[in-house]
Subunit: 259 residues, 2 copies
């Protein structure tokens, strides 16, 4: 049983006081308990929280929804609300494997290959990779988890011409290591885009979230040293699972700048 600190004299639904809304008061009260670690793991049930804060369920759910947007809590379908684990720091520009940067940060990573097939590129991909609409590409879908929590669905498309027989490798492992070891692509370049998005089924289901949940979409075009694009990635992340980080590579730059 979880005990929540709660000033019993505060009437959360009393909108007269200070022109502050009930949902905002409840939101702040729960946020405070989470930040001060008085609340960990799973939250009390919605109906319990309604009783605690003396608000209707829809008001409570408005507060919970905002805490979810803040990345403080998340839900498991029809099972309950949970305090979010810390975010994964992720540098889409860095040529590091998922395995590497997750373990560096103390997470237990895992990957499941959902599908592997030959596809014809959509307009966006054919334009990005400069290939004809009828060119066959190797396409894979994967779900990646940290500490048993699914955080990203990847949708990767590879140019067969550039990466011969790629479909014969174990594609549930690190692609960046495969590029390095098998195809000798030690230097690659990325075009990255990041934007806020909504996660819909079936992606939402793979991430154990709901249809319409908040996400971050990372798109990446991978090029070789000559600027030839050979890989097109779409990554759909749980919005609460990651923080994009890109650190200036001082050592490299300074080297170049020294006479």
């Amino acid at each position: 049983m979880v005990t929540i600190t709660h000033d019993k004299t505060t009437k959360y639904s009393n909108k007269m006081s200070k022109n502050i809304y009930a949902y905002a008061l409840v939101r702040e009260a729960i946020a405070k308990n989470i930040i001060e670690k008085k609340l960990t793991g799973n939250l009390p049930s919605e109906r319990e929280l309604c009783a605690t804060y003396e608000v209707a369920r829809s008001t409570l759910r408005q507060a919970l929804g905002q805490l979810e947007n803040m990345g403080l809590i998340f839900r498991k379908n029809r099972s309950g609300w949970y305090v979010c684990p810390r975010k994964l720091k992720y540098d889409p520009m860095r040529h590091a494997s998922f395995l590497q940067y997750t373990t560096e940060q103390g997470f237990q990573p895992s990957t499941v290959l959902l599908s592997k097939k030959q596809i014809k590129p959509c307009k966006e991909i054919s334009e990005s990779l400069h290939v004809d609409k009828n060119t066959s590409l190797t396409s894979i879908k994967r779900v990646r988890s940290v500490d048993g929590r699914a955080v990203v669905v990847e949708d990767l498309s590879f140019s067969n011409a550039h990466l011969p027989e790629i479909e014969k490798h174990d594609l549930s492992l690190s692609i960046s290591i495969l590029l390095k070891n098998t195809y000798k692509h030690h230097k690659v370049l990325y075009d990255i885009s990041v934007e806020s998005c909504c996660l819909f089924n079936p992606i939402a289901q793979h991430l154990n979230t709901y249809d319409g949940a908040l996400g971050l979409k990372v798109t990446r075009i991978v090029r070789d040293q000559n600027g030839v694009a050979f890989e097109f990635d779409r990554e759909y992340w749980r919005h609460d699972a990651l923080m994009i980080e890109n650190n200036a590579k001082l050592d490299v730059f300074i080297q170049h700048l020294k006479p």
Copy 2:
């Protein structure tokens, strides 16, 4: 008066059919109208839409909320819902001014300086800039708009030691041009982080949105050629206003790689 295509035989609130929910059907119907440009500018009022789709207002608002998360529509406080303009493409790594990259993309930019003061750094800033907690920094807040729509609130802190008399310049103009012209910082390096966040008052108010709205937080540490950090930025963006983009600088890299 806006006319909406709508199959009158579809009962949106009939949950029996196909196990698809009313809010999802309404969401898809409105999304379709927006994508097909049958719906532009402002949407009909919520009560009208309720009548059109035969759902309760709370159900409709759930659909509108998801369309908002998708970046398809946005709201002006108590005035109505509007179809989102296209997103601004923004490369936080590029040393380009807001004026420059907005006009390049055909937007009309403007900036309002909200405040300018001397502050003592918080823990995060003092650690990032490697300055003592009692060092005075010049701090400014600005709101930047494109086509009259406020899209980002900036919170910038500068090291006075590194940028002497910075407080005497017009800080509603481009800082990157100021750095270039006045302080001769032609080459700078950035540490960037991007994450999903919630926008609360007063930031939400500056962006003409509501307390708890979705946002993207961009944090940036600016360093000189020697790696010395002298500026700390926090940017709070409307989540529907931007797309982070970073393009591989092929020309530069290829130059380096050529023998």
